[in-house]
């Protein structure tokens, strides 16, 4: 076989029960067909984790995978995907994070790490080019993310080691724990930390001295030069560098898309007080970046907590909005303290913000009382109660116990508030109101991991420029925020790009928000790095293949068109205030158009046999038929 450039070339398979380690080769077929990251993970998950497997059983697997670009000097390109069957949603669990882990893993010689079985005792893994060590983690089990991280680094005695770690919430069985890289960069969605902890693994540490070669050095350097130029001259460069995604809060307020007071208002009068702008002016002291990033969008901030000065890093829009407007909190410093606490305990801030704001809405409406909440006064913006509740959730204690399994199970157990439980496929809603962003709304409804914007992220919709819509999708409304027509094609296009981007492990700041990567660019880049020549058309098909394989995985788990839905508030209740006043989202029409664009069956939402065959997924067709799932040609 000719050499595969870009890749480390090996998959590391670790059986935790037998403490066995196996190495597998990354074949050219796998590389060309699925690229890396999310693509590698879904291929292995489809093959190895069938519907019979319970998410918290030892038979479930945890996969950490990076892409061919990680470790090279391509800007914004060293992320990782963490996948498995989700303990929270019961379907596809998949979460993506930045940081330095992906590159270090590559230098250690691995493109993918697969954890199987369950360790008998709490351990952490220390992986280098030379060995895989199963190290005792009894002493750090139960410790917070930064305390445990500190001890692991000191025990290994190497400051360059990169660690993905879970917090006490995951260990206690809270269903939305994340795997935290570089302390504040979690792969937090869908409970991948909970899955890792269920295997008795506290952390995965990697360290490598290897290197990554690209196939065509001159071409690669030229591509990077061009990308750099485009990034540095992009209008979003400085705002993103200064504020990261927190810039969205104030911008979102202007178009009325904020999830304020649990999605009951799209805009608030105190947006500036809790905005990224305010954060930048008052608290930020320094920028920090992920590996190989030229738009370092993470910031170190300093604030006061109980008379002490605290320094911490990060905070994206999702966390900022989740701990401010969504729960009616006007105090920025208290929000920072809440987010820091969530990071230390190792929980997903988006899901947490939903369960808390859901409980608050029920409390404010009088649907639950102090008797239900164990005495917590859950009025909007009561941060003392929120901090207490976060601690309770992590410990599965008091009222927090009810919320620790996600909003759907909480509503089921409480037998109240199901219509106010804002989720899609059991994954809690992110911080944007789909009534104000129709394409995003469609994306949430069809996203393969549930309510999620990062599967499609049609940022171009915010341009409100009909010319772009006409040029790209033959439909002016496609790039109008409140338009309906053309959104099916828009979402399908960006889903393919996102699947490619998550598989190359490039950051969506570059690909989606700056809109710098298209099929042509990805094709050029992939060929220059790996030496595998894929045309733009083939690259598009690769993205489509990954999306279809994920859909087939969901279909096998029982997901159909009826599950591609949105919470009823967004479909029925017009927005009351703001720039999107009066809007609801007309989902069904957009869904019809989306299935047509995907060539999936419009009634069931199952990919057609011809579509799967065209994408080279004959084995999937066979598998689905064997399981008596009807496919339309």
């Amino acid at each position: 076989m000719s050499k595969l450039y870009g890749y480390a070339g090996r998959i590391l398979r670790i059986n935790l029960e037998r403490r066995e380690v196996k190495f597998e080769e990354v074949t050219k077929e796998l590389a060309a067909g699925y690229i890396g990251g999310r693509g590698f993970n879904i291929r292995k998950l489809y093959d190895e984790v069938p519907p019979e497997v319970h998410p918290l059983s030892p038979d479930n697997k945890l996969m950490i995978s990076t892409g061919p670009i990680a470790g090279t000097g391509f800007p914004l390109g060293a992320r990782v995907n963490v996948s498995g069957k989700s303990p929270l949603t019961g379907i596809l669990g998949d979460s993506n994070a930045g940081g330095h882990f992906g590159a270090e893993m590559k230098y250690a010689g691995f493109d993918q790490i697969i954890l199987e079985g369950k360790s008998r005792k709490p351990i952490y893994l220390y992986i280098t080019e030379k060995s895989v060590e199963f190290r005792d983690a009894e002493g750090i089990w139960g410790k917070t993310v930064s305390k445990a991280l500190d001890e692991i680094i000191r025990e290994i005695g190497d400051h360059r080691v990169q660690v993905g770690i879970v917090g006490p919430a995951s260990e206690n069985g809270v269903l939305f724990g994340g795997v935290f890289f570089n302390r504040v960069r979690p792969a937090a969605r869908t409970g991948m930390g909970t899955l890792m902890a269920s295997k008795n693994v506290k952390a995965v540490a990697v360290r490598g001295d290897g290197y990554v070669e690209v196939a065509d050095q001159n071409k690669f350097e030229k591509i990077v030069d061009e990308i750099e130029k485009e990034v540095f001259s992009h209008e979003q460069f400085w705002p993103r560098r200064i504020m990261g995604t927190t810039r969205i809060l104030l911008a979102g307020n202007r178009i009325g898309m904020l999830p304020a007071y649990h999605f009951s208002r799209g805009e608030v009068d105190f947006a500036y007080d809790v905005s990224g702008e305010k954060l930048a002016v008052k608290h930020n002291v320094k920028v920090r970046g992920c590996f190989s990033c030229v738009v370092p969008c993470s910031r170190v901030y300093v604030y006061h907590k109980d008379g002490e000065i605290v320094v911490n890093e990060g905070l994206e829009y999702e966390a900022l909005a989740g701990m401010t407007v969504r729960i009616g909190n006007r105090d920025l410093e208290k929000a920072l303290a809440a987010v820091d606490l969530l990071n230390e305990l190792g929980m997903d801030v988006i899901t947490t913000s939903e369960v808390i704001s859901w409980a608050m809405e029920l409390y404010e409406r009088g649907l639950i009382s102090l008797a239900d909440t164990d005495g917590l006064r859950l009025n909007w913006g009561n941060m003392e109660a929120v901090i207490e509740l976060i601690k309770q959730i992590a410990k599965k204690d008091g009222f927090g116990k009810l919320l620790s399994e996600g909003v759907v199970k909480a509503a089921e157990k409480l037998r109240k508030g199901m219509e106010l439980a804002f989720h899609v496929k059991r994954l809690e809603m992110i911080q944007a109101d789909p009534r104000a962003l129709k394409g995003y709304g469609l994306g949430f409804a069809v996203a393969s991991r549930g309510a999620d914007h990062l599967r499609s992220e049609p940022f171009i919709e915010l341009s409100d420029d009909p010319k772009i819509g006409m040029e790209m999708f033959g439909e002016p409304e496609a790039t109008i925020r409140l338009g309906i027509r053309g959104k099916g094609r828009l979402v399908a296009y960006y889903e393919n790009i996102c699947a490619l981007v998550d598989s190359l492990e490039v950051c969506k700041n570059l690909a989606e928000n700056m809109n710098i990567l298209n099929y042509e660019k990805i094709s050029e880049l992939f060929t220059a790095v790996t030496g595998i020549s894929l045309s733009p058309r083939e690259i598009e098909e690769t993205g489509e293949r990954i999306v279809n394989l994920e859909r087939a995985y969901l279909v096998r788990e029982g997901i159909r068109r009826k599950d591609d839905s949105l919470p009823s508030r967004f479909l029925k209740e017009p927005m009351k205030v703001g720039k999107s006043k009066g809007q609801v989202i007309e989902l069904e029409r957009m869904l019809d158009e989306y299935y047509a664009a995907r060539n999936w069956d419009v009634n069931t939402g199952i990919p057609r046999e011809s579509t799967l065959l065209r994408l080279g997924l004959a084995d999937v067709v066979e598998d689905l038929k064997r399981r008596k799932i009807e496919l339309f040609s």
Binding site: G71, T72, G73, P75, H100, A103, Y107, S146, L149, D150, I153, R154, G157, D158, H159, R160, N182, R183, V184, G208, D209, G210, Y211, V212, E213, V214, Q217, E221, V285, K286, V287, R288, G289, C290, F291, S292, C293, V294, V295, P296, S298, V300, V302, I309, V311, N312, E313
Partner: protein, 171 residues
């Protein structure tokens, strides 16, 4: 007085972009390990510190070198390496008070910054302007040895000073 690479580490984002392109320009592949500039990071204290050759005038590396492959060039005020004379014994690496020098594991020669002939790739690629060329000559203070290594101790000492400017008292 020659050119000198300088850092303003309060601007460094820790992205290691400089490391990657340094390694690429010198070795033809991407790697942190093969870089002639080292970014020392501490995520618990938010420290990012580009460690470069301090070009010590007393050059402890050169004093320890049995073949005089490493020497301090008086004219350029810079430590230089004569690869032909180097036998790869590694004594310079132990001698460097900052933990800056490390061994190229393939060629068994120390990885020493050569300023890319006056146009350093790291300066060209640094996205935040933390790296720049100057003719000033200023040395960072020599740190104490520490459990995670001299390079880490160097970064930590500098990082803690920056944090105290932000009002953080570390114990």
């Amino acid at each position: 007085m020659g050119l000198r690479l300088e850092v303003d580490f309060s601007k460094c984002s820790g992205c290691k972009y400089c490391e990657l392109w340094c390694s690429f320009k010198h070795e033809g592949f991407f790697s942190s390990t093969f870089s002639r500039i080292k970014i020392i990071k501490d995520d618990l204290r938010e420290i990012d510190f580009p460690l470069i050759c301090q070009n010590c005038e007393d050059a402890p590396c050169s004093k320890s070198c049995p073949t005089k492959a490493l020497y301090f060039d008086e004219k350029e005020k810079k430590v230089k390496l004569d690869e032909f004379l180097c036998i790869g014994c590694g004594s310079c690496i132990d001698a460097c008070p900052y933990g800056y020098l490390s061994m190229n594991p393939l060629k068994l020669k120390p990885l020493l910054c050569d300023l890319c002939g006056g146009q350093p790739e790291c300066v060209k690629r640094c996205p935040t302007g933390a790296l720049f060329l100057t003719s000033r000559d200023q040395q960072i203070e020599k740190p104490q040895k520490h459990e995670l290594g001299k390079d880490y101790a160097t970064a930590l000492a500098a990082g803690l000073r920056l944090r105290s400017k932000w009002g953080i008292r570390d114990v």
